[in-house]
């Protein structure tokens, strides 16, 4: 069985048919070619497949594509070119918070959701939100440093208002 869905994906209107049992991760990667969401643990633990749905991070590996109906989806591809990406990627690069890069799109998206939740404040809140995203290079310190660096910065305050 399939369902016709209408959604906003990376700022663009999408209308199309998806199989009821199709996972969001496969829909993004295989149907739309948005490969920034990575396939890894497949059991909602590692966070590599994180995308934002209505601003909230979800594991696209265990989320039905047909549940996107009426929702706003953002993947790393959609973030590129926005002020959020500029601030976040800048901080990640400055702190060397990227090693192999496999987990990075998901890290950046989860970090973006912190603006929305107004959680980009103290290290405790940031840790709590980010601890569901695993980095097998164990680059956690650099990632936390990058996020704490921008927590109090002027662009962050402005972006918080926009989120």
């Amino acid at each position: 069985m399939s369902t016709v869905i209408t959604a906003t994906i990376n700022g663009r209107a999408f209308r199309g048919e998806v199989e009821d049992h199709e996972l969001l991760l496969d829909f993004l990667r295989e149907d739309l070619g948005l490969i920034g969401a990575r396939q890894s643990c497949e059991v909602e633990v590692c966070g590599s497949c994180t995308v934002l749905v209505d601003g909230l991070p979800v594991s696209s590996c265990c989320y039905l594509a047909c549940d996107l109906d009426g929702k706003v989806v953002e993947t790393i591809e959609g973030l590129v070119g926005t002020p959020f990406h500029e601030v976040l990627s800048d901080a990640f690069v400055r702190h060397g918070a990227v090693q192999c890069g496999y987990c990075t799109p998901a890290m950046v998206l989860t970090a973006k959701s912190l603006f929305f939740d107004d959680l980009l404040k103290d290290e405790e809140s940031v840790k709590k939100a980010m601890r569901g995203n695993l980095c097998r290079c164990t680059g956690y310190r650099a990632i936390l440093d990058a996020l704490m660096d921008i927590a109090a910065s002027e662009p962050t305050v402005e972006l918080r208002a926009q989120a």
């Binding site: 049992h21 909602e44 265990c62 549940d67 939100a129």
Partner: protein, 290 residues
């Protein structure tokens, strides 16, 4: 990993959802966030030809005040409840318990009702809600009944829900002044290895009521009888009685050995965590911060 094919149905009322489930019998299963069900289906542990999506049913949404307590819609996500002011006011420990479930992504879509109905033995909400004496409202759109949380679970992944019956809301009583609730747990992976929740009522430095629930170690949450030893304890005896209750509770539970550890290891954890939960509940009862 792909999911096997199925059809998703999207009823907009409790009545229709219930009818669909009843008509399709064992071929159908209700789904909300799907954080546990889809996982089980992906791993081939469960198979259904029909999924009845409960996300469009208004009766399952919202948090209402009922007397001093709350009626929490079963379809509310962990995240929604974690940030709910009315929940924080009625039961201060509850947002903290919810904030520790799995990870931020699971909390974005996973629901309180889904967690309870899936009846995974490793559950913080099941343990905590049982300790604070929450009640579940089960219904099908025309009739309903109430079941205390601790009577809802029949075994691992098994509940009292009848065919076509759905969990509608969770009635959460407020924790009044003089009563302390606490929830402590340890986790190595996403699911808790051990969860202990307690509620104690103190009057004039004497414990007058006490409730203890040990979760995540057996098929269902268990309520050790040993907790009765706290009743009537004057303040001077608290520390000693708490230790006694912890040792007796650990001896009384028969934990299931799994990837989280052996039965003996979990018994040792139970003793430590019962002690911590009771200490925390007692200090919360006196309005002290931990």
């Amino acid at each position: 990993m792909k999911l096997p094919p199925f059809e998703v149905h999207r009823p907009s009322s409790l009545h229709n959802a219930s009818r669909l489930l009843r008509d399709m019998g064992s071929e159908a299963v209700p789904i909300n966030g799907g954080t546990e069900l889809l996982l089980a289906m992906k791993l081939g542990l469960a198979q259904y030809a029909h999924l009845v999506d409960l996300k469009r049913i208004p009766e399952l949404r919202g948090v209402r005040r009922v007397g001093s307590g709350l009626a929490v819609g079963a379809g509310m996500t962990h995240r929604e409840l974690e940030s709910s002011r009315s929940i924080a006011e009625a039961v201060a420990e509850m947002p903290r318990m919810l904030a520790e479930i799995a990870n931020v992504r699971v909390r974005s879509v996973g629901t309180i009702g889904g967690n309870l109905c899936f009846a995974d033995p490793h559950s913080d909400p099941a343990t905590f809600l049982s300790a604070i004496e929450a009640t579940l409202v089960l219904g099908d759109g025309s009739t309903s009944r109430r079941v205390p949380v601790d009577e809802f679970f029949l075994g691992a992944y098994e509940t009292k829900l009848e065919p076509g019956e759905l969990l509608v809301e969770v009635t959460v009583p407020a924790v009044p002044t003089g009563t302390g609730a606490a929830h402590v747990r340890m986790k190595v992976h996403e699911r808790p290895t051990v969860t202990v929740a307690a509620k104690v009522m103190v009057e004039r430095d004497t414990i007058v009521r006490a409730r203890l629930v040990v979760g995540s170690v057996c098929g269902t949450p268990v309520l050790p009888q040993a907790i009765d030893k706290l009743i009537g304890a004057p303040r001077a005896a608290w520390s000693e009685r708490v230790r006694e209750v912890a040792a007796l509770s650990a001896a009384a539970v028969a934990p299931v050995a799994d990837a989280e550890g052996s039965s003996r290891y979990k018994q040792a954890l139970v003793e430590v965590f019962v002690r911590r939960a009771l200490d925390a509940a007692l200090s919360n009862a006196q309005g002290m911060t931990r």
